[in-house]
């Protein structure tokens, strides 16, 4: 396939894909994330139970159970997915109450049946079925103290009891943090000491080992039955011998019903059947209780001796029914099932029935983060994201048009196609579009434009070098491609690793960045090349000025980058020194994403200020909350953010009520962040950074040379630390968005350094007699404009995010902007000098320096020059011949060059039968310039021009006279 056909094929393919994309865009809905359309997001961390460890299998089983529970909630398009090794993300669009959703979805729902009289432990740690002061008698399970105990008394009593291991225990050892003086339980129960310490830290409590109480396996502390289902759970507890009789897995077909029997009051209940094993155990168990009731009836009489069983759900007594030994002397037949009656409302009975229906979770799930976003706020965020995206697109387009004229126009066209393809892909996959995802999308606009800039700058370079427009375009694409491939591969790798390792919010960003990089490669390189290839002879691009290339000045000023590197190093050193002192002195301002707590965003109906809001909530003890007015296009006129330690649902409602009374509340959203969430984000970010750097070091070592990888790593470290220093100095809040931005900086810093190193790699074989510092100086001078242009182009959409995005996007954009500026700087002024210093120590470059110094009076000039100021370079040795025959000159206007003629001759010889003389001569493959003096080396294009041949019409395809 010749070039024209290939270009036509690409254009037809693009046209076809465009039509398909438009159909997808018009017919498929966009799946918006919770932050854009409102809803509840819950993140759980799995904790082991006595029955199961946190494994991939148990997490997947938990997800299955949660999915069934969510289905019962009737939520449209819920998303439940595993995150990392032990977390589950639950997204429930349009759900308005995070607490209710959490209660329904994440409750462990471990249901156990206990023999009440045989399990309640007295002061001597032994059951005493006849002692009503221990069991409560007819009032078994009630909240009244006595027979119930305070939690502190129950825990200290339980701690004195012996450990058992019969296999019937519902849980293992439990840890509590208590205040022995105040007789209060502060934290617990926790399954391990580490969990206890973490939970204590979240409540800002110091853990004194003397105040830790361990309740051994075989003993369980359960909360007394709640009389009023709408009231507060009672602070009354019982100590039970943890020997379960039946569990949730022994029942089936649970349904919500009513107590409609004779003499019953029609209260809601939960009815169920037993499984085969459950039925036989139930009959044996109830028979045993009846017999014991009969035995105890002597001297008591009547119902006083009836025995009870307790139904306990997640350590809370649901009900303590009695077995009437007179009515059921041989126990209760299991064929009719059983029922749980107690203080249920219809909805709470329905909820319990649903929980029992879906089964217990195989592991305990701890809620580490919950977030509730109202639909209004979601719409605002989407609006801001779209505005930022459109603004980013327009300014990048303007930049391309101004600097590259016709080429820019084609690039803008490619950007439009890119945007359409990407949007269609988002709908087709479908990708859930979130705020970080929009940030990733906007950033890929810059990346897509960068690819064009790299090529266009190369085209301009070739034009300035004297090539014709067509030849310049062909060479520009050919030579710019390797840099773009390397840079895009690195960006894609970073996105891929981020996607695999990072947390949910960052995942969305990583996915759009990765997909965007692939799509942009197609549109920015293949599409523009095809368009330019087809319009190569068009009048539109008949002059270099149309492509934005001005004639080169004869006396081009050359900057000694390596000589000046001392001062650039010093500048970075001073910035880092200040940053280190700031980190030491001020530290980083970690947001609640890392510190844990509750963050409320409220838009008030009437005018208010920070002090007014503080006054309003101070009466309820929230006066020490951090209150700040939210500004920016997304925030309403009277929007405030209130950050406090972790609040319960009641406390949040109290704050909402206070604000409602004083100012009126238009919207009220909140995030709760648990103590482990920030640790998880930080840990996953560190793993992602290390993994990215390792993979990228290997890639650079393979594509370049291993010594190129080290300066790249130093530059990345430089950029990340400078950004951290700036955050510390300015006291800006570090959020999960900042972490995502830091990871992006890593990708961008690599991208920019690779673009610069690519030219160094290209120039090394061209300058076989030059010192490495001379090679780098020349490379820097050649790519400076390109590097600045790509950075500027990337900074444009980031600036759009900064100016038009909401608070989340602004956070993200600020870190990115600092990182991009630092990344550009470090690529040129840190990574390149480090590479130079290191490479100059190699024997070959030591010899070259010595020879150059001897020839120049002991000084190595900044730039390698030969006689007449001609650059000291040679055409690179072709490593492999092109796969197809050369059938036309690279530049038809200039005719067939000497090299092209030689290649055609070689092609003809290749067809000839092999002879002894046709065998390859190793000497012929040697670099012809290796033994030449610098003065002897000249550029291909500097060869003396021959007298023009008489013009004859030529067959352009075959380069032969007609």
């Amino acid at each position: 396939m010749n070039d024209r056909r290939r270009n036509l094929f690409v254009l037809l393919l693009v046209a076809g894909l465009l039509v398909g994309s438009l159909v997808v865009i018009l017919t498929k809905p966009t799946r918006l994330g919770l932050d854009l359309k409102g809803g509840v997001s819950l993140i759980y961390q799995g904790k082991p139970t006595k029955q199961a460890q946190v494994t991939s299998d148990s997490i997947n089983r938990a997800i299955d159970v949660m999915r069934k529970r969510v289905d019962q909630l009737g939520v449209a398009e819920p998303q439940i997915q595993r995150s990392g090794s032990d977390q589950i993300d639950v997204s429930l669009p349009d759900v308005k109450n995070a607490d209710e959703a959490a209660a329904q979805v994440g409750t462990t729902a471990q249901l156990w049946f206990y023999d009440w009289e045989g399990s309640v432990l007295g002061p001597n740690c032994k059951p005493d079925p006849r002692n009503t002061e221990v069991t409560g008698g007819a009032s078994a399970g009630v909240a009244a103290i006595p027979p119930a105990l305070s939690q502190f008394d129950a825990v200290t009593r339980g701690a004195k009891c012996p450990r058992t291991d019969t296999g019937k225990e519902s849980s293992g050892d439990k840890y509590y943090l208590v205040d022995k003086k105040a007789k209060k339980v502060l934290v617990g129960p926790d399954e391990s000491l580490a969990d206890l310490k973490r939970d204590a830290a979240a409540k800002k409590l110091t853990v004194d080992p003397e105040q830790i109480v361990k309740v051994p396996q075989g003993v369980t502390i359960v909360r007394a039955e709640q009389d009023d289902p709408k009231g507060k759970p009672p602070d009354s507890w019982y100590v039970l011998k943890d020997q379960t009789i039946l569990g949730g897995k022994d029942i089936k077909n649970p349904e919500q019903g009513f107590d409609n029997g004779p003499g019953e009051n029609g209260q809601p209940n939960v009815q169920f059947d037993f499984t085969g094993h459950g039925a036989s155990t139930w009959e044996t168990f109830t028979k045993k209780l009846s017999q014991r009731g009969r035995e105890q009836a002597l001297g008591v009489g009547g119902n006083q001796s009836n025995q009870h069983f307790a139904i306990v759900l997640d350590n809370e007594i649901i009900s303590v029914p009695q077995i009437d030994w007179q009515q059921y002397p041989n126990g209760i037949d299991a064929s009719g099932g059983s029922r749980i009656s107690g203080g249920f409302t219809i909805s709470s009975a329905q909820r319990l029935a649903d929980l029992l229906k879906t089964g217990a979770l195989p592991i305990k799930l701890q809620l580490i983060s919950s977030s509730q976003v109202s639909a209004t706020l979601g719409r605002q965020a989407l609006h801001q994201g779209l505005i930022a995206g459109i603004a980013g697109f327009i300014i990048v387009a303007l930049f391309l048009l101004i600097f590259y004229r016709v080429l820019g126009l084609i690039a803008v066209g490619a950007l439009v196609v890119y945007a359409i393809f990407f949007y269609a892909l988002i709908k087709l996959v479908p990708i859930t579009l979130t705020l970080p995802g929009i940030a990733g999308l906007i950033l890929t606009i810059g990346v897509a434009a960068d690819a064009n800039i790299v090529i266009f700058e190369r085209v301009k370079e070739e034009l300035r070098g004297g090539r014709s427009i067509q030849a310049a375009i062909a060479t520009g694409y050919k030579r710019g491609l390797s840099a773009i491939v390397d840079a895009n591969v690195v960006t894609f790798m970073v996105a891929f690793i981020l996607f695999l390792l990072a947390t949910a919010g960052v995942k969305g960003f990583a996915f759009t960045l990765g997909v965007g990089t692939l799509v942009s490669f197609f549109t920015a390189v293949l599409l523009t090349q095809a368009v330019l290839g087809l319009m190569g002879r068009s009048k539109l691009i008949h002059s270099p000025a149309a492509l934005g290339a001005r004639p080169q000045r004869k006396e081009r000023r050359r900057f000694d980058f390596m000589g000046a590197s001392k001062w650039f190093f010093s500048m970075s050193g001073v910035i880092l020194l200040i940053g280190a002192l700031a980190i030491g002195g001020k530290g980083l301002n970690f947001g609640i994403d890392f510190e844990s707590g509750t963050r409320i965003r409220a838009e008030l109906a009437r005018n208010a200020d920070e002090n007014g809001v503080r006054d309003a909530i101070s009466a309820d003890g929230f006066g020490d909350a951090e209150i700040q007015r939210l500004s920016g296009s997304g925030a309403g006129k009277n929007s405030f953010q209130i950050s406090t330690s972790t609040l319960s649902e009641g406390q949040r409602n109290q704050i909402q009520s206070d604000l409602q009374q004083k100012f009126g509340v238009k919207s009220f959203d909140f995030d709760f962040i648990g103590p482990t969430f920030g640790q998880t984000v930080a840990k996953s970010a560190i793993i992602a950074i290390i993994a990215s750097l390792l993979v990228i070091s290997i890639y650079i070592s393979l594509r370049f040379e291993w010594k190129y990888a080290v300066p790249v790593l130093i530059a990345v470290m430089h950029d990340i630390l400078i950004t951290s220093g700036v955050y510390s100095l300015l006291g800006r809040e570090v959020t999960t968005s900042t972490v995502a931005a830091l990871l992006t900086i890593l990708g961008y810093s690599l991208y920019d350094t690779i673009i610069v190193f690519d030219r160094v790699r290209e120039n090394v074989p061209r300058m076989p007699r030059a010192a490495f510092s001379q090679i780098v100086n020349r490379s820097m001078s050649e790519v400076l404009t390109r590097s600045l242009a790509t950075s500027f182009c990337t900074a444009l959409p980031i600036a759009a995010l900064l100016f038009f995005g909401g608070d989340t996007l602004k956070d993200f954009a600020f870190a990115l902007l600092v990182g991009v500026i630092s990344g550009t700087y470090s690529s040129i002024f840190i990574a390149s000098p480090v590479l130079t210093h290191w490479k100059e120590r190699e024997t070959v470059y030591v010899r070259r320096r010595r020879r150059i110094a001897e020839a120049n009076g002991g000084v190595v000039p900044a730039y390698a020059t030969a006689v007449g100021g001609a650059p000291v370079d040679v055409p690179p040795v072709e490593k492999a011949r092109r796969g197809r025959r050369l059938t036309e000159p690279e530049d038809p206007q200039r005719g067939v060059s000497q090299d092209e003629f030689q290649e055609m001759v070689r092609d003809l010889h290749a067809d000839a039968p092999p002879t002894a003389t046709a065998e390859r001569d190793p000497a012929a493959e040697r670099d012809p310039s290796a033994d030449l003096d610098p003065e002897d080396l000249v550029l291909k294009d500097d060869k003396p021009k021959r007298a023009p041949k008489p013009k004859r019409p030529r067959n352009r395809r075959h380069g032969r006279s007609r």
Binding site: K566, F569, L576, G584, H837
Partner: protein, 90 residues
Amino acid sequence: MGMLAWVMMGLALWHFTIFLPDRFWGGIVGAFLGALLGAVICGLIVNGFTIPGESDTHLLTALEAIPGALIGIAAVYFEGVRRGYEALEL
């Protein structure tokens, strides 16, 4: 947080090695590793082999890394001299 302050200080001081004739063992990258390792080890020694957390990090924590970074750079430099590395000045 203490580790971040030490590493930053080590990296900051390493930047000024560019003013020295490059006789470092392992070149400029050797100096980089010397500065960072020196800063971290010195910080750990001063703090009894614990890393100060967010609330325990002060201005002094960052300054504690300075002697370590300088010793690290000097050690790499003199090892280079001992091995007979010629000075490289760009």
